[in-house]
């Protein structure tokens, strides 16, 4: 039996949205597709990048912009990569310290997570702090090439806050965010769950807004592969994507939430209490100590069509890289980015047709094709 399985080594970061990868390995979805999936937990995105580029990992759970940054040679150990499948949509939130929240609430921040009023309130607080000669506010993101960085920057900029001048943005590992907020090194951060709920539960933070409100149903983590591995192992990659698709459907079924939370909470995966995983998995988010809100699609796992990447997704991330001066704009790069986020390999693997509908990127403050 075992000898017929194709071995695949996958790196992952202990986050809620590693669920699809974890479920595929733990619940037999990979085996059903003839794949012996071995998971290796990592401590930083830099390690994920380094170990996939030297071939320790065949595939990895990756921040959606990472394969773009690697392909465009914007990071060290850069190799051409692909993002053939989405592993999760949404799941991030922006949490601020309780002190900052009370300042924001005083000037009209909406308690239900609306990005417009919370952004405006933050802009007012920053203006006041500037007038008072107070030090700039510090925000944390998990990586310079991450949905978190771009969502935070988009939200700040939409409120007229210059992310490079009016605040300081630093990078910190997800599991350290809540402590940094508590210790006062950070005034706020954008991170994936469960690290927002962790601060709310500890009474040190308040969720101001979230990814699902800023860019609804947007990609967060992708399956990352080097172009070299994808070309050398097309059948294994297809089998793996079928396994992930089935695992994602299982993760998306509300009946399985408790079991999924129990698996993810294990010491060898997230090593956290199962209860704090449940908030995002069930879409019932505690924004503050007394405000719980149902947020449909807060974090979505999906097989089927929704797991297909779209060139428009890649282009949005690339435009943010250009906007924040991480990358130069070029037609060649744009075409490369569209190819990295091509849905074709995934759709072929699961036997679906490419949708005829034009993809629309819908942000909280604008809509465009």
């Amino acid at each position: 039996m075992e000898t017929n399985l194709r071995p695949v080594i996958a790196g992952f970061i202990p986050l809620l949205d590693s669920a699809v990868v974890v479920a595929a390995a733990e619940l037999g979805f990979a085996e059903q597709e003839g794949v012996a999936l071995k998971l290796i937990r990592e401590t930083s995105w830099a390690n994920i990048r380094d170990r996939i580029s030297v071939g320790h990992f065949d595939v990895a759970h990756m921040l959606a912009p990472m394969p773009i940054a690697s392909s465009l040679n914007l990071t060290s150990l850069a190799v051409p990569m692909l993002a053939p499948m989405l592993l999760g949509l949404g799941g991030n939130a922006i949490t601020v310290s309780t002190a900052l929240w009370s300042d924001m609430a005083r000037v009209g921040a909406d308690p239900s997570g609306d990005p417009v009023t919370t952004g405006k309130a933050l802009a007012d607080v920053i203006k006041q702090r500037h007038a008072d000669d107070a030090p700039p506010l510090h925000f944390g993101v998990v990586h310079p090439f991450s949905g978190h960085a771009y969502e935070l920057r988009y939200w700040l900029a939409a409120a007229g806050i210059d992310p490079d001048k009016d605040v300081e943005i630093t990078v910190l590992a997800p599991q350290m965010m809540a402590d940094a907020l508590k210790g006062g090194q950070l005034d706020g951060y954008c991170v994936g769950e469960p690290w927002n709920t962790a601060a709310v539960d500890a009474g040190t933070g308040r969720i101001a807004t979230y990814k699902q409100a800023i860019w609804p149903d947007s990609p967060e983590k992708v399956l990352g592969v080097t172009q070299k591995w994808a070309e050398a192992n097309p059948e294994t990659l297809a089998a793996l994507m079928r396994a992930f698709s089935a695992a994602a459907d299982w993760c998306a079924d509300p009946v399985n939430i408790e079991e999924l939370a129990t698996i993810l909470a294990r010491p060898d995966i997230l090593a956290c209490p199962a209860e704090i995983c449940l908030a995002a998995l069930s879409g019932r988010i505690r924004l503050g100590p007394k405000t719980e809100r149902a947020v449909p699609g807060f974090l979505t796992f999906s097989g089927g069509e929704k797991a297909a990447p779209l060139p428009a997704h890649g282009v949005w991330f690339y435009e943010q890289m250009v906007r924040w001066r991480q990358a130069e704009r070029s037609e060649a790069a744009l075409q490369q980015v569209e190819a990295i986020f091509s849905p074709d390999a995934y759709l072929a693997a699961v036997g679906l047709e490419r949708s005829a509908e034009e993809a629309v990127i819908k942000m909280f403050d604008s809509e465009r094709n």
């Binding site: 401590t43 390690n47 380094d50 990071t75 060290s76 990586h143 599991q175």
Partner: protein, 195 residues
């Protein structure tokens, strides 16, 4: 020969850090600074202004460190990944050994290569040490289990220590198992029987 390069070693593991420090000092580098404390890392690096930074791959602060290098106001000089991209052998060796290093842009590679090689070999030596320690630990645990199994046999069957051991060994040989496995089964069975 050191040419006065200052080398910053960032490693939570104090023993490993001092092994690397010693190696670098033996090679004639006298400006080696160890950092264990990750808080205020940006300021520490700006103050130290090192030529080379060596960091272990288990460190969850690598993303923070790399970001810092991108933001020029945090560090005075731009910093790059340690080796030429063409030198895939060194990159693989470093990642295999569990270490990464960054050098200040423009430094001559041949001056830095020995530092990296040193770090790689010390990291390897350290993981060998750790594995050996692990082996010794499990050997000790095995011996304890075998002692308990002998004790059970001596008590329940009135054997001497040597006879008890011989019985364990014979049983293991007859069943093509290891002594420790037989001893473990016996200890578990005896526990289940409430002995």
């Amino acid at each position: 020969m050191s040419g006065g390069l200052s080398i910053l070693v960032i490693d939570d593991n104090r023993i490993r850090a001092s092994i690397i420090e010693q190696g670098l000092r033996d090679a004639g580098h006298d400006k080696v600074i160890l950092v264990h404390q990750m808080e205020g890392l940006v300021r520490q690096i700006a103050d130290i202004n090192p030529d080379v930074i060596v960091i272990d791959l288990e460190n969850p602060n690598r993303d923070q460190l790399e970001h810092m290098f991108q933001v020029s106001r945090a560090v005075r000089r731009p910093i790059a990944m340690f080796v030429d991209r063409s030198d895939s052998h060194s990159i693989e060796a470093a990642v295999d050994a569990g270490v990464s290093a960054y050098i200040v842009d423009g430094l001559k590679r041949e001056r830095v290569k020995p530092i990296l090689d040193m770090a790689i070999s010390r990291f390897r030596a350290f993981s060998r040490l750790t594995e050996e320690l692990e082996e010794v630990r499990s050997e000790l645990a095995d011996r304890k289990t075998i002692d308990r199994a002998k004790g059970i046999l001596m008590k329940s069957r009135g054997l001497t220590e040597q006879e008890a051991y011989d019985l364990l060994r014979r049983t293991a040989m007859n069943q093509s198992r290891k002594i420790i496995d037989v001893a473990q089964s016996l200890v578990i069975a005896s526990g289940l029987l409430g002995d």
